[in-house]
């Protein structure tokens, strides 16, 4: 992309109409869109071993907000390629996005999505509705279908604070871009089955923000126990899950100093009962 010596701004810049950055990119520099990379070949193939994978993301609502958390492991086949990977991000002032799957695709999609929201905000002078943001993300996942068919899949989890209803909402996606609203809690990635099982037993609808955070840490711990691609808290290196909270005050990513005592509590309780807290039988 040669922007120096641009001279007069090209027509694509000066045309009124689109407030979407990815639409603009599609017109002006389509090769920069992640989904256009392998546009030549749409044949089914498996390139999933090509690049590292990120794994489990969990999200839990509480009255007035939502917590999203992710483990820190990235894997390449049977190897651990990164132990401090980041898979949960701020999307904008009032939402968070976590993404599991091929890391390269995931990170690029997140970057594009963050920019998409900021771009809309600047062009229009107003923010998108939460539903609108969720739909934009669906659109971007759909544009990646060609790569997904070749094994380079990235599946996001989106959560945010809905100012209208004053509550946290969670949206999940499949690789074709189908979007569905999830209630109470949800999880994506290779360890998600175990995480969701744990959350099913732990979730209460009168959670405080901290309760929801602890539930996420418990769920990720359970996922890490049974899924080799999900990393548990690394007590010696002090690498903890990424914890983010979105409520009426906006997005907040917990610092390690805040997460550390919560993780210590969960881990030390597990030394007494390795399977974690017990749910009542009936």
């Amino acid at each position: 992309m040669d922007l120096a010596g641009l001279g007069r701004l090209p027509a694509a810049f000066m045309t009124a109409g689109t407030s979407s950055f990815s639409d603009f990119l599609g017109q002006y520099a389509p090769e920069m869109l992640p989904g256009r990379r392998l546009a030549g070949s749409t044949q089914y193939a498996d390139h999933s071993g090509l690049a590292p994978h990120g794994t489990t993301i969990v999200a839990v609502t509480f009255p007035g907000g939502v917590v999203m958390a992710g483990d820190r492991r990235a894997t390449a086949g049977n190897l651990i390629s990164q132990r401090d990977a980041e898979k949960v991000f701020q999307a904008d002032e009032y939402s968070a996005v976590g993404i599991a799957g091929t890391m390269g695709i995931a990170l690029e999609l997140v970057r594009l999505f963050q920019l998409e929201l900021e771009h809309y905000e600047k062009i229009e002078g107003t923010v998108l509705s939460l539903e609108g943001k969720a739909n934009r993300l669906a659109h971007m996942i759909r544009a990646n279908l060609g790569l997904a068919m070749q094994g380079l899949v990235a599946v996001p989890l989106f959560a945010g604070f809905d100012a209208g209803n004053e509550r946290g909402q969670i949206y999940s996606y499949d690789p074709t871009g189908a979007r569905s609203e999830e209630h109470e809690f949800y999880s994506v990635g290779s360890g998600s089955v175990f995480a969701r099982g744990a959350l099913k037993k732990l979730f209460r609808d009168d959670f405080s923000a901290e309760d929801a955070v602890v539930a996420c840490i418990q769920a990720l711990y359970d996922a890490a126990e049974d899924d080799s691609a999900t990393g548990g808290p690394d007590m010696y290196r002090r690498i903890f899950p990424i914890i983010t909270v979105v409520d009426e005050n906006g997005f907040d990513r917990y610092s390690d100093d805040t997460v550390s005592p919560l993780v210590d509590r969960v881990v030390s309780a597990r030394s007494g009962r390795p399977d974690g807290p017990q749910a009542p039988l009936s």
């Binding site: 992309m1 922007l3 007069r8 701004l9 009124a16 603009f24 771009h119 600047k122 002078g125």
Partner: protein, 256 residues
Amino acid sequence: MSMQFGYVSPEQIMKDRADYARKGISRSRSVVVLQYEGGILFVAENPSPSLHKISEIYDRIAFAAVGKYNEFEVLRQAGVRLADLRGYSFDRVDVSGRALANVYAQTLGTIFTQDPKAYEVELVVAELGADESSDEIYRIVYDGSVFSQDGFSVMGGPSDQVSTHVRENFQRSASLEDSLRLAVDALGRDEGGEVRQIATTQLEVAILDRSRPRRTFRRIRGAQLESLLSRPAEDTAEDDTADRDTTETPPDETED
């Protein structure tokens, strides 16, 4: 006027276009951009709460304009696209106000000489630096000329009166309240020398705030604006009839 039929000298064409553009711009109410102790302040007289004259372009870059709304709006959107595209293909720190000012200058210059109608706009691109000595304020006018401004910039409307007032009272390290009051006082100065009171609802105010991380642009409106304007003045007392006819107009105001 013994002009050959069908022939207009290039000088005349350019002069006509310049006069045309200037006339359009002078109909627009003024905008004042100035440094204050915490960053850069933008104040415009703007009766519309939604058709902005001041906008965010990028993390540390803001845009202000006077003239025809549809024309500067096209430029504003183009600026946001260019900045976002640069940030996406390189990194956020690689988006600079100077590059944007250059692209605006080239675009306006080309439009001025080649298009049937010149844009009736004047722009300010301001970039917040790490400290006040590295702040940058560029003013770009309808024919593509760029001026690097020191400390403040005034455009549109009766800008002579307004800029005289700002120049005489400007202090780089003034508080936000004092700078805001100075800008509002200046905007109220009309050509005849009368001083108007501008209602808070007629003001569009924004800052690039050095204390904020990442996106530093913030609008100031409603109750917050009221309270900033109603705080007691410290030592901004100056004679209200200070409209001596200063003959020294800055060189950039009088190109012709």
